[in-house]
Amino acid sequence: MTESGDWLLRPRRKHQYRLRPVALLLVAVTAILFQIYVPLFFQYLSYLEMPLLVTVYFSLMRREPVAGVLIGASIGLVQDSLSHNPIGMFGIVKTLVGYFAGFVSQRFDVQNTGIRFLLGFFFFFFHQFFYWVLASALLGQTYGFDALQTLVFGLLNATVAVPLFHVLDKL
């Protein structure tokens, strides 16, 4: 790796991102509220995984896998409670997302827009695919996995993630 390419792999700030717990709670609840309310009027927005984007953001900015695990598990379990599937499906997937996001944040500059876009895309695809694997393996649900559609939605989610993360930076 050359010196010039290191800036992408080096975290820009060594200190952890400090977010007030109240703000974290409000943002998480708003993301969940967005997911359950907005698709009533704009159905195409149901593919916007706001709780996932919020999980990724907080896990990236906390720069600690343990925090990512706790944030992912909490948001996932609340999301599970509002779905009709057994509790734990979103919890497990978002726990893993939170962990990996926290892990990745220690090696990349997560304030770089390109990195954020790529991570948003990657974690959306990972989230959808792993949820499908869990639903098939643990619950015996047999709906197919549409990889192309997931890729497109991943790009859309990543596109939304960039400005959303920028707004959350201001909190």
Binding site: V29, I32, L33, Q35, I36, Y37, P39, L40, S46, Y47, E49, P51, E64, P65, V66, V69, L70, A73, L77, V78, Q79, D80, S81, L82, S83, H84, N85, P86, I87, G88, M89, F90, G91, I92, T95, L96, Y99, G102, F103, Q128, Y131, L138, L139, Q141, T142, Y143, F153
Partner: protein, 364 residues
């Protein structure tokens, strides 16, 4: 041990979180039960916020839209066009009001007409997850809504309640892949099982290839599932094709979801109804009267004259005549069988040819 946990702290926490959730999941799947407490907390915490947002939206939409329209009108023309804009807005507002009133009236009319006891509810949220076909209603167990109750509109069935909380309830829509309901066709009363597909078209399973179902045919609830009362409209068949195994592939467009979902009825006490008869009007077929018999025409087999045509018919007729000539009554028990070897009475004296009678025109 402590050094190990400190060194692999994040991995340990991850594994602990995963194992705990897997155990929770396994418990729910194995016992087929739900961790109700967590759901009650989440629903009670989130749904009141959704209700507040919905109330805020419905109350402010009219105000803001009117305000924006008036701003546009100001820019264009402050006199006539402002009046026109106001009238247009008012018209739009009244139309919306009318539509809402129509919807409410049709819901109320259906509610009063239906023998089932129902309660009106409003949809205040959807379920989480991209593929989710779940909605939340603003009526819960405190209003008498319980798990397993049917949710309908005057146009058709919508779904069923899968969880009921004090202030809200969760409804799985008929388009969800895990939804199933017993249905019956209107014309030929063919039974099947309706299953959601995750999109706007549903599939009806277990209809054998030999059974008659046509595109455009209506399906109604059969009441077999003990959730939906019999006789509620489900939808209209869009595509029918023979399946690969024994069953047809019947795709149906659900009628309950076509007008959009805003207000629904929860069936508190269902009463089975009869399936309405098909509205299809019978097509009349005009037939001309039969042509008059031609006395000069050769009719060796007696087709036109109404006489017997095939050899088997002629033989049967010969046996009948022979039996009658011997006083035998066919079909009577204890009768002595006739002697069919005696000469045919008709051979001695041929019967008079039957004159052809023109038939009246019939409508079928």
């Amino acid at each position: 041990m402590e050094i190990f946990f400190n060194r692999y702290r994040s991995l340990t926490v991850l594994l602990a979180a995963l194992v705990a959730q897997l155990l929770l999941l396994a418990y729910q799947v194995k016992t087929n039960s739900d961790v109700r407490l967590i759901r009650v907390w989440a629903v009670t915490g989130v749904m009141p916020l959704a209700r507040v947002v919905e109330a805020f939206r419905s109350n402010t939409t009219g105000f803001f839209s009117e305000y924006l329209v008036l701003l546009d009108v100001k820019e264009e023309n402050k006199t006539l066009k402002s009046q026109l804009g106001s009238l247009k807005m008012e018209n739009q507002f009244l139309k919306t009001e009318l539509a809402t009133a129509d919807r409410a009236r049709s819901l109320a009319a259906f509610q009063s007409r239906s023998p089932s006891r129902t309660i009106a509810a409003r949809i205040i949220g959807t379920g989480t997850g991209a593929n989710s076909k779940v909605v939340f209603l603003d009526r819960g167990s405190s209003a008498g809504v319980a798990k397993g109750m049917a949710v309908v509109t005057p146009d058709g069935i919508v779904g069923k309640v899968i969880s009921s909380y004090p202030s809200a309830s969760q409804v799985i829509l008929i388009t969800d892949p895990s939804f199933a309901a017993g249905v019956i066709s209107q014309k030929s009363r063919v039974h099947g099982t309706l299953k959601g597909q995750g999109h706007s078209i549903c599939l009806i399973e277990y209809i054998q290839n030999e059974e008659q179902v046509a595109a455009g045919e209506w399906f109604y609830t059969s009441g077999d599932d003990r959730v939906f009362p019999k006789g509620l409209p489900v939808g209209q068949v869009k595509i029918v094709r023979p399946g690969k195994m024994f069953f047809k592939e019947v795709f149906l467009v659900p009628s309950g979801l076509q007008q959009g979902l805003e207000e629904v009825l929860v069936v508190l006490e269902g009463v089975h109804q009869t399936i309405p008869d098909s509205q299809e009007t019978p097509q009349t077929l005009h037939l001309l009267p039969a042509p008059p018999a031609d006395p000069n025409a050769a009719d060796p087999q007696g087709v036109l004259s109404g006489n017997l045509s095939t050899e088997a018919d002629q033989m049967l007729e010969k046996y009948r005549r022979t039996g009658e000539a011997q006083g035998h009554v066919f079909g009577k028990a204890g009768n002595k069988p006739p002697n069919f070897n005696v000469p045919d009475p008709a051979a001695v004296k041929p019967p008079d040819p039957k004159p052809a009678v023109p038939t009246q025109p019939t409508n079928r």
